[in-house]
């Protein structure tokens, strides 16, 4: 549904996307918006903005995006950066593809040149619009059992202005099946580097029972025991910070529509120092289940989403078990978002209730 399409939704219709979610979910746009947002925030802070300071105190983790350039536009900037750190490793991703399609890792500049030449020849759909982003590769990821993983977190946005967002507390970690090394020779082994389930399931070591998926609960249990409580808590707060800032970065660009809601899949990588990095945001996170516990989790995800987004006076809302609208299931309302919009806390409660 695009804003110009002219379709209008009836009172009793709601839809699971915002019209221009690409601002957040297309890799190059997200990068652009975040860069701009950071500048704005810094400016506001220098001007002594109250909001910026409040944000600073609660969500103070802002450098969560690995250095990223858009290709071919930013090629010169990228080449300059690359020459500064010739040993660095970078990952190339098409801006508009998902599920790990078209992703590869480079550590030499000439690989890009060769790629741009080959790409034009081989891929029929490669036209001028087909841009790539190149990001600094997090090459010291946190390894558990010797394997690399990334996190999939779910975030539900029901309104952009004011921003009302919920974090789902049952994300999961997706593991590679092959032990991780930072060996150069293995850079093209996608079973080692790419955690996408859609790639991993073709590996020889893929197991249907576990699907390479580990619950966040287990991850936190492990991290608390092996790394300590303080750093684990900090990690969780920083992940919250990633979510809040990335949403605020696009808040004013999004078409706000009371008929719309959207569930985003956040991909986050944790490095060896327990620093989370935002990789990308997906507008249509996979809801298909690969394992039994995955199915349970996704059932409850959909259930909880419906419970939150369906208004009380909605026809046939009796179908969902939304007796108590305060019950958000496994979703946690990201606090302080409303108070940032309207400094007075009294309006915050009223607002939450009105929206549900």
């Amino acid at each position: 549904m695009s804003p110009e399409s002219g379709y209008r939704l009836a009172e009793t219709q709601i839809i699971n996307h915002f019209p221009n979610h690409q601002e957040l979910t297309k890799k190059d746009l997200m990068v652009k918006n975040l860069k701009r947002y950071k500048k704005e925030l810094a400016r506001e802070k220098n001007n002594g903005g109250e909001k910026a300071q409040l944000l600073e105190s609660k969500y103070n983790y802002l450098d969560f995006l690995p250095t990223t350039y858009t290709l071919p536009g930013d090629y010169n900037l990228f080449a300059e950066e690359f020459r500064k750190n010739p040993a660095s490793v970078w990952i190339m991703k098409p801006t508009d593809k998902a599920r790990g399609i078209g992703i590869f890792i480079i550590n030499r500049l000439h690989q890009i040149k060769r790629w741009s030449r080959d790409a034009k020849m081989q891929w029929s759909y490669a036209n001028n619009k087909d841009t790539y982003v190149v990001s600094r590769y997090v090459d010291d990821p946190l390894l558990i059992g010797g394997k690399k993983f990334d996190l999939r977190m779910y975030v539900l946005v029901t309104s952009w202005r004011p921003l009302i967002a919920y974090k789902y507390n049952q994300g999961f970690a997706r593991f590679c099946a092959v032990k991780y090394t930072s060996d150069e020779g293995e850079l093209d082994n996608s079973f080692m580097h790419l955690t996408n389930v859609s790639i991993q399931k073709y590996g020889d070591d893929y197991n249907e029972t576990n699907g390479g998926k580990w619950s966040i609960k287990n991850l936190l249990l492990y991290l608390q025991a092996t790394r300590g409580r303080a750093v684990t808590t900090k990690l969780v707060e920083e992940i919250d910070s990633i979510i809040v800032h990335s949403l605020r970065a696009v808040q004013n660009l999004m078409t706000n529509d009371k008929h719309c809601f959207e569930c985003y899949g956040y991909d986050i990588i944790i490095d060896a120092d327990l620093r989370p990095w935002l990789i990308e945001v997906n507008a249509s996170p996979s809801l298909s289940a690969t394992t039994a516990s995955d199915r349970l989790m996704k059932y409850s995800l959909v259930d909880d989403i419906l419970r939150i987004v369906i208004p009380e006076d909605f026809p046939e809302s009796g179908l969902t078990s939304a007796k108590d609208k305060k019950d958000t299931g496994n979703f946690i309302l990201l606090q302080d978002l409303q108070s940032l919009e309207r400094p007075k806390s009294s309006t915050k409660n009223g607002k939450t209730k009105a929206r549900g």
Partner: protein, 657 residues
């Protein structure tokens, strides 16, 4: 009354005993000289004596250091207590004089009278265990032939180098994990021996137990009931739990589990914003208290602490305080030093059992909590299978005999440590098999502590390998003296959640194994520690006390002997049954109450609590399948409230009202 059998308690106080104690202390001191902690202590005394102005009075400086909270004295005390635990629990009868028997009153006394058995019953169980081990030994031979792999093989230098390089990388030729329609861990009815590599599994164990029978015309001690009746009333053919532990007794035994005390495992999670602050406060005070105990290294306080659960962030260290029986100065270096020879031995020799434990560890792929740790687990199990420390702990008499070169002569070792001595090795095509046994890698040089005071002279930690000399040393096979049963790696799985590296995880695992898990798959009764038959009898007795009609219904109407289900949970210490966080919470309590006594019995209590929890569903069950279904998904169970509900039923009801 002490930990050890009252019959063997020396009752110290007589001059002869004092002399014994002095002599023993001397020999212990000599033994300690091989320990780096001993020298670290001496060095500390030296530096402090030199630094302090009154450095002439070395004795008082030493005393100060010794008695400092969390200092050397405390460490030695912990060490002696733990070393004694393993010794006394395995073979109390072999050590008539135990000067180190704890006489402390701070430890609740584990009631051992229900472990006293009629010698004839004991004999029957011993025989069952022997039979099981003999069958397992045959399996080893069969697997060796079928897989065409020798029992042990010296790797060539080249192979050794390759092994060291790629040791634990998942190799592409690994067969996929056994997958059945319901892929789970064995405790949950997972695939049983799909590759036919297992020596024996929990089913065999249970069959061996249920297959026991007393010789005709022999009633069990004091039991005058007709045999038909007792067979009807229990699936365990021999009467063990006499006198049984009463349901009401549990409330006294496990007093610290009472709902009036705050518990880790329920009270640290808040559900409303108000209770969340309360919970956070509780967790905070709990962590502070735990840190204090850790810094003082106080064993008895640590075990009291563990009874109310250990916060996740302290668990690894607190468990080590409760478990590490060696006198260790610096755990990190000790671990490294200890695992180095194990790794070297691993690289040098390929054992048949390596394949078995690796296949066993691969099962973790069938669980979505543990699959991450597959490689870690493999490494741990490979260490375990060749760690002679395990053998030395499980039968402390063995090292002494080993030092004087024991032939394959029948020695009264427990049948679990079946030594396949003098086994002839089938030749391997192309590979050079140097020596028929395992070369002498003296990896048990570290344990010259109290456990084997007689063998205290072996202090070398380096493996003295001599591949050139065709020295044939008859040792136990496998080196740790334990023929692995199918699913043994389940015990190691939750430990992976505590340590980031395999070595540290292994150090915790080996202690857990010898003081706790080994009893869970042992039929042979012990005088001091409940083993599987006792635990099952305990479970049955609790269920019958809880609701005899329920027991009858499940056993006779649904035709699913409760002991069969419970055995699976107990044998695997609830791994794969409960969620991993819950398993850890349960193990906290097990360690707190003594993993070789009341704590171990807690596994039986937990099994009974699960049964009681599913009572309503069980009443509706009409077939074994219904009963299975009642316990199909226990992943969401919270074990602490469950135990409380069972142990303190009245209190919990009051709260509800």
């Amino acid at each position: 009354m002490s930990l050890v059998d009252p019959g063997t308690d020396p009752g110290p106080g007589t001059p002869a005993d004092v002399r014994d104690v002095r002599a023993a202390a001397k020999s212990i001191e000599r033994g300690l000289r091989g320990n780096s902690a001993y020298w670290a202590f001496k060095k500390l005394v030296q530096t402090e004596a030199l630094a302090s102005p009154a450095h002439r009075d070395i004795a008082s400086v030493a005393k100060g250091i010794f008695e400092r909270p969390g200092g050397v004295g405390q460490r030695i005390q912990n060490h002696v207590r733990l070393a004694c635990r393993t010794v006394s629990s395995s073979r109390a009868q072999q050590h008539p004089v135990q000067w180190w028997a704890p006489r402390s009153s701070d430890r609740t006394v584990f009631r051992t009278d229900h472990l006293v058995l009629d010698p004839r019953v004991r004999k029957v169980l011993d025989a069952a265990q022997k039979g099981l081990m003999a069958a397992a030994k045959k399996q080893v031979a069969r697997v060796a032939v079928e897989m065409d792999v020798p029992l042990a093989r010296r790797r060539t230098r080249q192979e050794e180098a390759i092994f060291l390089q790629y040791a634990f990388a998942a190799r592409p030729d690994d067969p996929p994990a056994p997958v059945s329609s319901n892929s789970t861990l064995p405790a949950h009815g997972g695939p049983r021996d799909p590759d036919r590599v297992c020596l024996y599994d929990d089913q065999d164990l249970l069959d061996a137990l249920l297959g026991t029978a007393l010789p005709a015309g022999l009633g069990t001690g004091g039991n005058t009931l007709p045999p038909d009746f007792s067979a009807f009333w229990s699936s365990i053919p021999i009467d063990l739990a006499a006198p049984p532990v009463l349901l009401e007794e549990l409330a006294y035994k496990y007093a610290e589990l009472h709902p009036r005390y705050e518990q880790i495992g329920m009270d640290e999670v808040g559900f409303s914003s108000e209770s969340a602050t309360q919970a956070a406060h509780f967790l905070h005070t709990r962590i502070t208290a735990g840190e204090a105990i850790l810094s003082r290294r106080c064993f008895s306080r640590a075990s009291m602490y563990a009874r109310q659960g250990v916060p996740t962030c302290l668990r690894a260290r607190l468990w080590d305080l409760l478990l590490q029986s060696e006198l260790i100065d610096d755990p990190a270096t000790y671990t490294q030093k200890y695992c180095k020879p194990l790794k070297a031995a691993l690289a040098q020799h390929e054992l048949l059992v390596d394949h078995l434990v690796q296949a066993d560890a691969r099962q973790c792929r069938n669980d979505d909590a543990f699959f991450v740790f597959e490689d870690v687990l493999k490494e741990m199990m490979l260490f375990w299978i060749r760690d002679e420390w395990i053998d030395a702990r499980l039968c402390p008499a063995a090292p002494a005999a080993q030092a004087t070169h024991s032939p394959a002569a029948p020695q009264p070792s427990p049948p679990k440590s079946a030594s396949i001595a003098g086994a002839t090795l089938p030749p391997v095509g192309g590979a050079v098999a140097e020596g028929t046994g395992i070369a002498d890698n003296n990896s048990n040089g570290n344990n010259n502590g109290v456990g084997n005071g007689k063998a205290g002279s072996t202090t070398t930690t380096l493996p003295t390998t001599a591949p050139a000399t065709p020295r044939v040393i008859v040792k136990k096979y496998p080196p740790n003296g334990v023929l692995p049963f199918w699913g043994v790696s389940c015990y190691a799985m939750p430990v992976c959640f505590l340590h980031a590296d395999a070595e540290s995880a292994y150090m915790t695992f080996r202690e857990l194994y010898v003081c706790c898990f080994t009893h869970l798959h042992t039929l042979q009764p012990s005088r001091t520690t409940p083993t599987l038959p006792h635990l099952l009898a305990h479970f049955e007795s609790l269920i019958k006390q809880y609701s005899a009609p329920l027991f009858h219904h499940v056993a006779r109407v649904a035709h699913a002997p409760p002991a069969r289900l419970a055995a699976r949970w107990i044998v695997f210490a609830f791994v794969g049954v409960l969620d991993v966080a819950q398993v850890l919470l349960l193990w906290d309590r097990v360690l707190g109450y003594g993993p070789d006594g009341d704590g171990l019995a807690l596994f039986a209590v937990a099994a009974a609590a699960l049964f009681a929890f599913r009572e309503d569903v069980l009443w509706a069950a009409r077939s074994p399948r219904d009963v299975e279904a009642a316990f199909a998904d226990l992943g969401a169970i919270e074990i602490v409230p469950l135990l409380q509900n069972f142990i303190f039923p009245l209190v919990c009801d009051d709260n509800d009202a």
